[in-house]
Amino acid sequence: MGCAIIARFEAAAEIMSKTLYDKLWESHVVHTEEDGTALLYIDRHLVHEVTSPQAFEGLRLAGRKPWRVSSIVATADHNTPTTHWERGIEDPVARQQIETLNANIREVGALAFFPFKDKRQGIVHVIGPENGATLPGMTVVCGDSHTSTHGAFACLAHGIGTSEVEHVLATQCLLQKKSKTLLVRVEGKVGAGVTAKDIALALIGKIGTAGGTGYAIEFGGAAIRALSMEGRMTVCNMAIEAGARVGFVAVDETTIAYLRGRPFSPKGDVWDKAVAYWRTLVSDEDAKFDAVVELDARQIIPQVTWGTSPEMVTGIDGMVPAPEDFSDPVKREGVARALAYMGLTPRTPIQQIKVDKVFIGSCTNSRIEDLRAAAAVARGRHIATNVKLALVVPGSGLVKQQAEDEGLDKVFLAAGFEWRQPGCSMCLAMNDDRLSPGERCASTSNRNFEGRQGAGGRTHLLSPAMAAAAAIAGHFVDVRELL
């Protein structure tokens, strides 16, 4: 009989051990359909100008009201200019979109709205966390694929389409099917000059841009725990480039320390209660994942992409591959097309590739730590003569202010970089910051797709320190030699 009880007890323990994903999921299920499609309650809805106008319009046409406007945090970021703010938005089409956002938020309301020129305006994925509007255990959605960034706070953060934006506005819920779970464990310690961006790119190089499709990725291991919140946001931001809609990191002291005292963080007794709950937001010791990928941090060196997909990446000591290196015919042709687009010859060492422009910014790498890392390389040096433009675009007004308080703007300006107003800028080039056809850019953003930074432009993804080093050298170079 004793044995039976133990067996039953063990079975119960097995059922009880959960991944962080299970916990986040289960705590938000309002209803489940027969086929497993669930209605998830949404705690935070981030809104920006590009993917929301049709949703507000749809709501209005159907005569529906937003369910809970205090879940909304809105800002203008994708279209806003990064120079001459005194002139307003000169592009009439962009201006109409931003004015539409202003009018929509004015009409319905929001917890917070940081419109164009507000001192807290910035990239939607930068402003949420820095204002404490992204809290552990939340479901966070935004009409933007890089919403995965917020997973750094142990959130279930989904990028959604415009129909879903409308659905969340109207119902405060999202229809979802549960994903499989993938644990990406990065053990060991990265070397000096190797950053969160390099971890993310190395992972994508390993599993491919569809490697995470259908999975929710939990990032763990000593190298992830050693990252700051900024670094974790960089890694989670890139989860979508690995094909996963969501990526997250468990709560630890780093998470809690970051959130203390932020404008929308809980205060007093409520803070203590919240922290007690947040500490449970970790995968149980013996939780089972559907798949596990391991990376050794000590093996990761600074990464640079050479093609038109983030998986086309190599270490700074590497070279451009040749199509013949790939046995799969579709892949081989993809590589040949990428090299033609990128204007690269097979077997060229990465360090010999010259750059025309440098972009330090985007929701991947525009936080204070990123700017510090780039400034450390730029300090006392000057950009190379062949570099036509080196842009530093802080992720938000608050990041910009902090950087200026630390004197980083002076460092960049003295080194020949431009110091701009916050926004998405040359990450997707909807404003005037863009590449001309054929121009080659060292960029800290997340996508190197054809035309992403301007029609015909050629993008190489890398870390902020590596981008600053490329600006100084005029070509890609191992930043570890400059430290």
């Binding site: 497993g36 109207a170 919240a274 709950y277």
Partner: protein
């Protein structure tokens, strides 16, 4: 949402992997505040010889004769044959809007990016995952058979070739039901209004910091 039950149409093969949403609809067109009118700019950078901007008269632009969608034999196609990881990249629903506006009703591919896949269902554009071997055969047949057409049968969950060969595919029961009936997700969800309110009320008590 437009209903989808059975569709028979001309097939066009787009033989590349990782076709991203920037390629499907370049960002300069995302400045529109409308849901329609994106079709003429679908695949803009591949389709035209010049650089497209909103407001241009697309009928006067020079087309790239090498791009498959421009070829005479594929005009009027409504079924897109694609490769792996179709629709990767951004969450922009403008990508499925553009494909639908162009005239596509179904996309057959080896795999799709999650958000794109999801967005398609919301507007009644059916994304279908097929095994690689079947797709390879379809690419060959489409290229070698002028006027090659397929039938997509959603109730039977089959893609039927003109030679009678049927290829089964999977689709979530809930999504299938919505497509067959043309149901609007919001209306369906609001049937659970009481449940949502009860959930919210409990959450307000248990985690008050979420409701500042």
């Amino acid at each position: 949402m437009e209903k989808f039950i059975r569709h028979e149409g001309l097939v066009v093969p787009l033989d590349r992997a990782n076709v991203d949403t920037d390629a499907i609809i370049p960002k300069q067109f995302l400045k529109s505040i409308k849901r329609s009118g994106f079709g003429p700019n679908a695949f803009d950078e591949w389709r035209y010889m010049d650089h497209g901007e909103p407001g241009m008269d697309n009928s006067r632009r020079v087309r790239n004769p090498n791009f498959v969608l421009n070829q005479e034999r594929y005009q009027g196609a409504s079924i897109l044959l694609a490769r792996a990881n179709f629709g990767c990249g951004s969450s922009r629903e403008h990508a499925p809007w553009a494909l639908q506006d162009f005239g596509f009703r179904a996309i057959l591919a080896e795999s799709f990016a999650d958000i794109f896949f999801n967005n398609c269902f919301k507007i009644g554009l059916l994304p279908i995952v097929l095994p690689k071997a079947e797709l390879d055969a379809l690419f060959g047949l489409t290229e070698h058979t002028p006027g090659y057409r397929l039938t997509v049968d959603l109730p039977g969950q089959r893609v039927i070739r003109p030679d009678g060969h049927a290829i089964g595919f999977a689709v979530d029961a809930f999504r299938k039901e919505c497509l067959l009936n043309g149901w609007d997700d919001i209306g369906l969800t609001l049937r659970h209004e009481e449940k949502i309110r009860a959930f919210e009320a409990r959450r307000r008590v248990e985690q008050p910091w979420l409701f500042v």
